[in-house]
Symmetry: D2
């Protein structure tokens, strides 16, 4: 069955996003790869704000292991964008987000995708279990 | 089951790719969104070379409707990159590619993903059936 | 003499900008090329809002012919960014902007640059004189 | 006086570059900010190859303090690109490159710019004098 766009009501957490002029490709719409830079930005903004990632000091960091995106509407420069964000799987060291990009007052997503992070020790890049505080904050986004 | 990297032998068609300095993110590796700009570049380079896309004249163009990528190895500046490319589904108006990014002499992919194009009329953006010549060329990449 | 950062008071028009996670390069700061995608975004956002550019309908468009940027402070993910924008030269068909990127509450610019647009006929790409309405709006940004 | 494109003969060192599909913007040509990602890539590829930058081990790194670019020809997807590279100023700790982007067999540059690096201690980000070996290699590119 063909994928369907998520309705706005599926999300309770949103992150504002800004489209850039250079994001538009020759077809006059936001290039498909840009969606992933927006996914990345929405998730990391959430993590930094919640204190789950301190770029200078964290012993563990989250690395991306898998992403996917389905496109439902073209996005053009001037559109107001935001990401709906929720967690659909919370493992021992991994976190899977579901993310939708909404444009303007759209009731359904212009694009919906998934984004899987693995928590790793910064130096060794080996998976590290999520600490209790991180787990509590992330469970809140489920 | 965890996704596995494709072996090089799964592909017979390759496109050369170039990593850029700015592709590296704070973790010292190629940012996950860059893989999709490389997928896009590999597919479009193939289409232009085969005469399936003439940016000035084509009445139909291919728009991306769905992409995905699993990451297996970190890629760093200085790595020699190429994309293995094959078609796994050829519909009436859609084409699904499987794409792997190989680094240096790697026997298995650093990242493997999928990339689905729909052939549309440029002005209306409605799906248009692939013409016989396009179909013949694309079947060759299966 | 070494270039100096513009003080905030040199500008009366500001455009909000958003840094992206992928903008950070291996040195942990916003890569130097990103500044130019922000310049581009600030100027085009202004033009679209003022009705000087209608992506579907305008017979003339602005193409970039020259840009430059001096860097004074490193920008990192989490910084709040905005562009100060003013016009320093308004020719028959060209517009030269001076643009500064300010981070957080900074009194002086993190980066200051210039950005020159030429107004051209969309089809021929030949310079076209600015119409009176455009000139009036642009003079206001001087 | 209006800037003029450099002729190919002004350069003896060239770096191959690859345009990406997403580099094209709504006007059907390579977006102006992309040129700077290509400048960056050409210079760093040279530095890594010459052993002047070891991303894991170097105590000093080069940070960009100033760039500029004049555009003479539009670049489109499918063009073969290369950068001509030479050093025009070699200071105690700074290096100024002149860089031109050539497309296809073009006798003159599609874009010509400058790119200034300062050699800094990685941890303190304070300027560090170029060592004799670096200076010798860089003088060779003048």
């Amino acid at each position: 069955m063909r994928p369907q766009p998520d309705p706005r009501g599926d999300y309770s957490h949103f992150e504002p996003l800004q489209m850039r002029w250079a994001d538009t490709d020759i077809y006059g719409h936001m290039n498909n790869a840009v969606h992933y830079t927006l996914f990345d930005t929405a998730v990391q903004a959430f993590l930094v704000r919640e204190g789950l990632l301190d770029l200078g000091a964290s012993e563990t960091v989250f690395l991306v292991v898998s992403t996917a995106c389905d496109h439902f509407e073209e996005i053009t420069f001037g559109d107001q964008l935001e990401a709906g964000l929720k967690i659909t799987d919370l493992g021992n060291s991994s976190v899977r987000y579901r993310i939708s990009i909404f444009r303007n007052a759209g009731a359904t997503a212009a694009a919906t995708g998934s984004f899987t992070h693995v928590n790793v020790t910064r130096t060794t890049r080996r998976p590290a279990p999520l600490v209790a505080r991180a787990r509590a904050i992330l469970e809140n986004l489920a």
